[in-house]
């Protein structure tokens, strides 16, 4: 770990360049997922994995999160997990709406 003080984030440019190249490669891979028409679980797994990797590198290195103190890391990175609860609830709700629409409205196209 680079020895920057908590308030003063100065890191060698080489570190940034390495992550930069890595982000390029990861983006290229996500583009290839679409280009080669990968389908099904593999497609979703690859998209989400590449997305989380890219997001992780941006937050950790470019935004210096990995060199911050845990007080700040936890305060910023834990609250967004609440969105996953919303995603879970809305996914259940949407399945229900979809089932209702299929059952009551989708028989004949609406004029």
């Amino acid at each position: 770990m680079s020895e920057a003080t908590a308030a003063h984030q100065q890191h060698p440019i080489g570190t940034y360049v390495k992550v930069w190249i890595l982000l390029f490669v990861l983006s290229f891979f996500s583009y290839l997922v679409d280009f080669f028409h990968v389908h099904g679980l593999l497609r979703w797994g690859l998209i989400l994995t590449l997305m989380m990797l890219k997001a992780g590198f941006i937050v950790a290195v470019f935004m210096h999160m990995k060199w911050e103190r845990l007080a700040l890391i936890f305060a910023i990175t834990l609250p967004p997990l609440a969105i996953l609860v919303l995603v879970g609830m809305m996914s259940a709700e949407s399945h229900y709406v979809n089932a209702n629409r299929t059952e009551h409205f989708a028989v004949a196209p609406l004029k």
């Binding site: 908590a6 308030a7 003063h8 984030q9 100065q10 890191h11 060698p12 440019i13 940034y16 360049v17 930069w20 982000l23 390029f24 983006s27 996500s30 583009y31 997922v33 679409d34 280009f35 028409h37 979703w44 998209i47 989400l48 590449l50 997305m51 890219k54 997001a55 941006i58 937050v59 290195v61 470019f62 935004m63 210096h64 911050e68 103190r69 845990l70 007080a71 700040l72 936890f74 305060a75 910023i76 609250p79 967004p80 969105i83 919303l86 995603v87 809305m90 996914s91 709700e93 949407s94 399945h95 709406v97 979809n98 629409r101 299929t102 409205f105 989708a106």
Partner: protein, 218 residues
């Protein structure tokens, strides 16, 4: 009073004392808290998009085809979006370097790199404007489109529009701070401001990572 260690014990001691919880300049703490609130805005937008896409009974337009471009007779899927992604990542790289030069007190290099970053931001917004006009020309509207589910348009304009607004605001923010850096406005205060501006810019890139994966690739 101060354990100084950065482990769970340090985490508890940072929160327990009757003093500042975050040992960073206040502007940086505030920027992080703003970005946290912005995370919720984009988080709920994307969740809303997920909801309408799951709930609709019509077929969702295939982004790979909708966003394909024909160059010299060959059709490339998603090519413009891929280029936009690379432009934004590149701008994040130049921004990170600007932060480094800022702390070295190299005003000229820091300002130049910030302006280069803003330039890439402008290129991104320009390509987005092109993409919007192309889709509008093809009949995509917030209330319907010729390719499939009507909700596609509202999700697209809402999410990419809000992101484009963030990029545009970032370009203005970067230009103002770059000018002040060049003028020596921060010689006494120090160059934390470049890092804080950078946090905002990297966040814009971060949001694009999620939009790219969940809207364009899904």
């Amino acid at each position: 009073m101060d354990t100084g260690t950065n482990d769970l014990k340090g985490f508890v001691s940072d929160w327990a004392g009757d003093r500042a919880a975050f040992r960073v300049p206040w502007g940086k703490a505030m920027m992080w808290i703003f970005l946290l609130s912005d995370t919720f805005i984009f988080g709920t937008f994307l969740t809303g998009y997920m909801s309408v896409r799951m709930a609709t009974t019509s077929a969702w337009p295939n982004p790979s085809e909708v966003f394909s471009l024909t160059i010299a007779g060959t059709s490339y899927p998603l090519i413009l979006i891929a280029i936009m992604t690379f432009v934004l990542i590149t701008s994040s790289g130049t921004m990170a370097m600007a932060v480094n030069y800022g702390y070295q007190r190299n005003r000229k290099m820091a300002a130049i790199l910030m302006l280069v970053t803003a330039g890439f931001g402008l290129v991104f917004v320009g390509m987005q404007a092109f993409e919007w006009s192309k889709l509008i020309h093809e009949g995509v509207r917030p209330w319907g489109n010729p390719m499939g589910a009507a909700q596609f348009g509202s999700c697209f304009f809402m999410i990419t529009g809000f992101h484009g607004l963030h990029v545009s605001a970032g370009v203005i923010y970067l230009s103002i701070i770059a000018r002040r850096v060049l003028n020596g406005h921060y010689e006494k205060k120090g160059y934390d401001i470049v890092e804080i501006t950078g946090l905002y810019w990297h966040f814009v890139d971060l949001v694009w990572v999620f939009i790219f994966a969940l809207f364009y690739l899904w």
